[in-house]
Amino acid sequence: MKKTKTCNLFCFLLFILYTAHGFSFQSNDKQIISYFQDDQSFSQRTNQKSLPSQDKISYSSDHILVKFKPSIPDEYVQATMNSFQIKEYNVIPQINVFKIKIPESLSTEDILYLMKQHQYVEYAEPDYVAYATATPNDNFFQYQYALYNSGQNIGPPGSPQGLSSADIKATLGWEETKGTEDTVIAILDTGIDLLHPDIGNKIESSGRDFVNNDFEAVDDDGHGTFVAGIAAAETDNNEGIAGVAWNCQLLPVKVLDEKGEGYYSWISQGIIWAVDQDVAVVNLSLGGPVESTTLLRALEYAYQNDVVVAAAAGNEGSSVLFPAAYTDYCLAVAATDYNDLRLNWSNTGPEIDVAAPGKRIVSTVPTWYFGTGSIPYGFGDGTSFSTCHVSGLAALIISIKPWMTAEDVMNVIKYSADDVNKNDNPGRDVFIGYGRINMEKSLVPLIIGQKKMDDIHDWETTKTGF
């Protein structure tokens, strides 16, 4: 009996063991510059190969990766290679991994299977193909350092080079969302080239022209088309540039004339009209030095209707222009460059909320701008072009969180900005506000894990949900 009980206890123990993230509207700031004379060769230089879909797992059919067990002598390894008729291979010596060319008689799967069975082999695996994250295939994306800065030349060889990561982390943000078609950005500017090949399909309607008082907001200056492209050019279409708000729509509202000038009344009317069209974001890459109650009321109207307004601080190296200075109701945007440095012509003041790249920005220009046969893209500088990066980000946030108020969206953009001048001016400052915007932090879930020091641990419980 005792033996049985001991045996049973043993069985019981066995069981237990067994189971165990502009230029301004003033025309004298016009800075669209055609850096490209040789359009044809430029296009060829920048022609990128389309990347495969990320959900497609692919690997080399030419070679595999194999690691032999550390204890296996070299001659045994060579003998094993010979037995598989392997004639070509390379070694990654630091980790002792062999990159083996697959013999013609075997498929990748066959040799992997055989290698995995072999007693000398620690592991064998395909040489998988990795892809860059959410990188659009637009030809000039490589020059859009503002979206993704790898330290590349920003233009043809000899152009300035950016500082790696001095960007708004667009590719990472796009991992979370590329925006939705029902989210519309109103571009209150000189109009938009409605026929531009990189914008035409993104325009919700021909918009409203408060300068000529009609309903066709055609761009007769170029500024508006440039701004629109940055905010939401057609993206991943093998052409031109990528827009920040990849899938969002554009609504042209012409409030500036062919000289890039416009009355406050046109701007105020334009804001109110756009809000009434149910847009999500109003982009104001414009401003004037004088305040106006009418302009303020128009901004309040937008704010009360939960429409986010982004406005340019201005490019005079002076105080912030209006309406950007009405910072309670809009985001006042300053400019940084490809090194994440503030630009000295970017206006300053306590009203500045955030900054975005505004130096050497590539974007769309009207098809007529450089003349027949030229490519309709160019470079420009200005807080105008910083502003539309912010507008694009606001549209992306609203795309995935349409229930958020304008104030909430503005706060998300502010609080997630990178304080890139913190060494000299820690915290919010008059130069770049909270910092250069960061799409990753605004859009991608933030990972929480570190407990608060004043951690509470009470016995309070909440709703149970059932």
């Binding site: 049973n8 998300v412 609080y415 990972i447 149970t464 059932f466």
Partner: protein, 259 residues
Amino acid sequence: MAKQICLSVMIISLITVPLFSSPQSYQPEISSKHIKLGIEAEFFDRLIKWDENLDQTSSLKSYLFLLKPGYEIIEGTFVSAVLGYSLSNFDQMIFRELPFSLELNTGYIDGIALGGNVLARIIDYSDFTLTVRGQFIYYMGFKDQWEIPGLNVEGTATGTPSWARLAAGPKVSFHVSEYLRPYVSAQYDRLWGTFNMEEEIEELSGEQDMKIESKSCINFSVGVLYEIIDQLDLKAEASVLPLESSIGLSIMAGAIYSF
């Protein structure tokens, strides 16, 4: 498929109870012990879905340390209270209805576990005993706070999780010897609950109640009861919760003192 299996288990349970409860083919020995005190430690790891619209899933891991005082209300039927402490891990859950979306990587969150247990012997036949058992456990996680990283201002996330588990089904024990009783069991096993998350970042605030629900609602278990001395039994059980593409598991060990 899973629903059909759950339904089958419930139907079998409902049929077997009345079927076997009347004429007993084997009369068990009458025990004079009407009070039991059990202690149990359990770990489970099961797939939960937590965003119905997106059908997002992650794994819920939990440790339970339970005290189970029980009383035999009628012959062969024990009712126990369940009191204890639990640690639950909801990592990888993502709260997207907050101003800043948050993903949990907080590790285990402690809390208390309360509930009840019913065990009713239906029939003894030869060396086999058919029992029906049911258990309800409610986990109330303690409110916890975490820093929200990466922002240029300070922010706090406050989370309070809770879940409930209901398991019921038949169990067949085999009397290998006087001391050793292995058993198998199939149970309807559903887990559901809520994770309340609050976010406070300067002027920004938001709150989301994330509903969670287990993907699988059936478990198959094997276990064993081992009598050390007349009043003391040791117990161990392992369960699997099958799904099409993965499998949940649970292991439990405990001791029962009868008097």
